[in-house]
């Protein structure tokens, strides 16, 4: 794009990101998750055809946003709890790797308490666990963090409500419309069927893809269990046999 006002073709008609598949994303209004009641828009959204605003996005670099890939220790002192390695790939819907993209992660400690003032759960804080990390995917979209398995924690959504063990993830991808904030869960968690946030996603297969898998290949002897979590961002362009225009 030029500042003189001469518009080049790539900026004028950028390739849009694809619409989400029906049922694979949660709704704004999910009555079982009480906090959505007063926070969901009541009016229909207005469709915004993708322009340079939606198809481009910030470029985060490790020089300005330093990576912190091992949060299982602070100042050389190991945090309490079960050390784990979590890794995976960032791909798009066509299976192409999303390289050099920033992933932010945050989580509760092993006891189920966040190092956050608002969290008043009566579980111990751990001076050696802050619970925040940042990594970048490599050329093939691979990323990896070392952390502590987070504990379950209570919340006040309903009687005896507990969040399943989870790690929060934030990704930016390659354009504004590819932004993703999600949560990774653990296999076999008995709290998953009871959790309104997890179950807000209508499509069962889409839901289950938020559950990481235990991975013996990632697991390191005498060190840590490994989990795998692949993340898929929206693809670009029309799905096959569809016309080029975005919705």
């Amino acid at each position: 794009m030029s500042r003189s006002g001469r518009l080049d073709d790539a900026a004028r008609d950028p390739i849009p990101f694809r619409p989400f598949s029906p049922g694979t994303q949660p709704p704004y209004d999910a009555p079982a998750y009480l906090s959505t009641r007063a926070r969901h828009p009541a009016r229909p959204l207005v469709t915004a055809p993708h322009t340079v605003t939606e198809t481009t996005g910030p470029c985060f670099t490790p020089s300005r946003f330093p990576a912190l890939a091992d949060i299982s220790a602070t100042d050389g002192r190991a945090a309490q709890g079960e050390r784990i390695i979590v890794n995976g790939r960032v791909l798009d819907e066509d299976g192409r790797p999303v390289p050099h993209t920033m992933l932010e992660i945050w989580q509760a400690n092993a006891a189920g308490r966040y190092a956050h003032l608002v969290d008043q759960h009566n579980a111990p804080l751990d001076p050696h666990f802050r619970g925040v990390g940042r990594v970048f995917s490599d050329e093939q979209g691979n990323w990896r963090i070392v952390t502590i398995k987070p504990g379950a924690y209570p919340w006040r959504n309903h009687a005896n409500a507990w969040r399943p063990n989870h790690i929060h993830f934030s990704l930016f991808g390659q354009g504004f419309a590819q932004r993703l904030v999600t949560q990774m869960y653990f296999p076999g968690d008995p709290l998953l069927p009871l959790d309104p946030i997890f179950n807000s996603i209508p499509d069962a297969a889409a839901r289950d893809r938020l559950i990481s898998s235990f991975d013996l290949e990632t697991t390191q002897p005498e060190y840590a269990l490994g989990y795998r979590f692949d993340i898929v961002l929206r693809g670009r362009g029309a799905t096959p046999f569809e016309d080029g225009e975005h919705r």
Partner: protein, 180 residues
Amino acid sequence: MPTATASQTIGPYWHLLEEKGWDDLTRFGPVPEGAARITLTGVVTDGDGAPVADGCVEVWQADPPASDDFLGWGRAATDAQGRYSFTTLKPGPVPGRGDARQAPHIAITLLARGLLKPLVTRAYFAGEALNDTDPLLAAIEDPARRDTLLAREAGDGVWQFDIRLQGEGDGRAETVFLDV
């Protein structure tokens, strides 16, 4: 081929990500010649009129073009009164689809507890001539709704853009949110 990973709420504890200065998009370099530093600020309220005090507001602008001195992106937390504030550079017009020209705007992503996926909107600048021909603004028929996308100059270089998540109960219009 798998579909895009499902969104989940950012929750009430996302502030662990917060870093000083991320609300100042001009922090990496000097203000370029011809650009103007502005403040974009506003209050986020819910359907009860209560402040959204735990929100994460992110801004992105394609103009001025990103450079080593200007990332074009920022993040701010809402305070107890629901207020967010950014320091940035006033954007100029950018290309739209076809031969269209888009009026100057800043794209906004709002993430919070109670939002299972992001809410996206745009802050345009009241008084810009191009607002009358902007394709997105033109697609919103109701002028009261269209007005929710206009930031108002509230002082020298200070632009006020309030975000209303839901409802018309107390006379304030729900902000137009975008399906992007």
